[in-house]
């Protein structure tokens, strides 16, 4: 595989994310029932299933169109706060992606733009126990890997490891955003569902885009 993400590779990423979300649907909902409104797994699965259906119905012709289609579908199908948040993430990525193959540097800039969009939309800061706590470290690890000249596969693996670490780091945090913030101290000791699904998004990139040893 070339050291870049073309339309077909990005489609694989989206399909792999949909598969992971469906696979982990109950786990995401269980995490959300502890500190939220118990709908994160169902909402994300409904949204990503609709995304896959839309991909079949109207196949996008370039990376920007793909990411925009994913974002708009999530906005209208998810229902919960993840709709506008993930929707914004993909729409901002679309703004960076363009119509050609994305190299590691462009991928890093696109994900960073997505993260910035999520932060602007949700007004969450690092440490608020949200998806930002997984995506932020993932973006930082990508930037560092790109700066070192790492291969795309290596950069994706490092970003996934950083996201997982960030996700695990949400357990002791006190929730300051979303439904979980109503719980105050009782939110401490639970892993954040949004950080968990965001880690799946980054994981999906490794599985779908980086062949073993790539």
């Amino acid at each position: 595989m070339a050291d870049g993400l073309d339309l077909s590779a990005l489609e694989s990423w989206i399909r792999e994310f949909a598969r992971l979300v469906a696979d982990r649907r109950d786990e995401l909902t269980e995490l959300d029932s502890a500190i939220g409104d118990a709908d994160h797994g169902a909402n994300m699965d409904r949204g990503m299933s609709a995304v896959v259906t839309a991909l079949e119905a109207t196949p996008p012709t370039d990376p920007a169109a793909l990411l925009k289609q994913v974002g708009m579908t999530l906005v209208s199908k998810v229902g919960g706060a993840s709709g506008p948040l993930y929707g914004t993430l993909f729409l901002r990525m679309a703004g960076v992606a363009g119509d050609g193959t994305l190299d590691a540097e462009t991928w890093a800039r696109a994900l960073r733009a997505g993260l910035d969009g999520v932060v602007a939309r949700g007004k969450a800061e690092p440490g608020d126990k949200t998806m930002v706590d997984a995506l932020g470290p993932a973006c930082d690890a990508l930037d560092a890997a790109v700066a070192e000249g790492a291969s795309l596969g290596e950069a994706l693996r490092r970003s996934a490891a950083a996201a997982a670490q960030g996700r695990d780091g949400t357990v002791p945090m006190l929730a300051r955003k979303g439904r979980a913030s109503y719980l105050g101290e009782r939110s401490v000791g639970h892993q954040d569902p949004g950080a968990t699904s965001a880690t799946l998004l980054v994981d999906a990139a490794v599985t779908a885009l980086a062949p073993a040893g790539g």
Binding site: R46, K77, G79, P84, L91
Partner: protein, 139 residues
């Protein structure tokens, strides 16, 4: 006469419809455009930014729109809906932090009277005052 449109964004279609019914009770014989954007795609609880944008467009006669919402994703979806409008339409929209039911009743009354969107939004923000005054005296 100016006629400001109102949009109710809620997780629940039933909640939004009931709030609109309560507000319309205050407007016998008077027309005010109130549109609802509520519920998820599968009829469950949820909000949809594209539905909010469509609702805003449907009640905007050129004098602007005041949007009232419940909590959480309703707020995020209302904010995101602004992205789907062109600059001119967006400049005529006010997202109100007022409490949904009280704010809507107050906003509907003054909107039906031909108030500007700034005045409609200000009236929505005063929605809690009667309750606070009543309970303040009692407590």
């Amino acid at each position: 006469m100016a006629r400001v449109g109102l949009v109710v964004v809620s997780h629940s279609r039933a909640l939004a419809d009931a709030a609109v019914a309560l507000a319309r009770q205050m407007l016998p014989g008077r027309e005010t455009a109130i549109e609802v954007a509520a519920g998820a795609a599968d009829q469950g609880l949820g909000t949809d930014a594209t539905a909010v944008a469509a609702a805003v467009a449907s009640v905007d006669s050129g004098d602007g729109v005041v949007v009232l919402m419940d909590l959480g994703s309703a707020v995020l979806s209302a904010e995101m809906a602004l992205e789907f409008l062109d600059d001119e339409a967006r400049s005529r929209v006010v997202l109100s932090p007022a409490p949904l039911v009280e704010g809507l009743v107050g906003a509907a009354v003054v909107a039906a009277g031909g108030a500007s969107r700034e005045d409609v939004a200000a009236e929505a923000m005063r929605g809690l005052a009667p309750k606070q005054a009543q309970l303040g005296e009692a407590g």
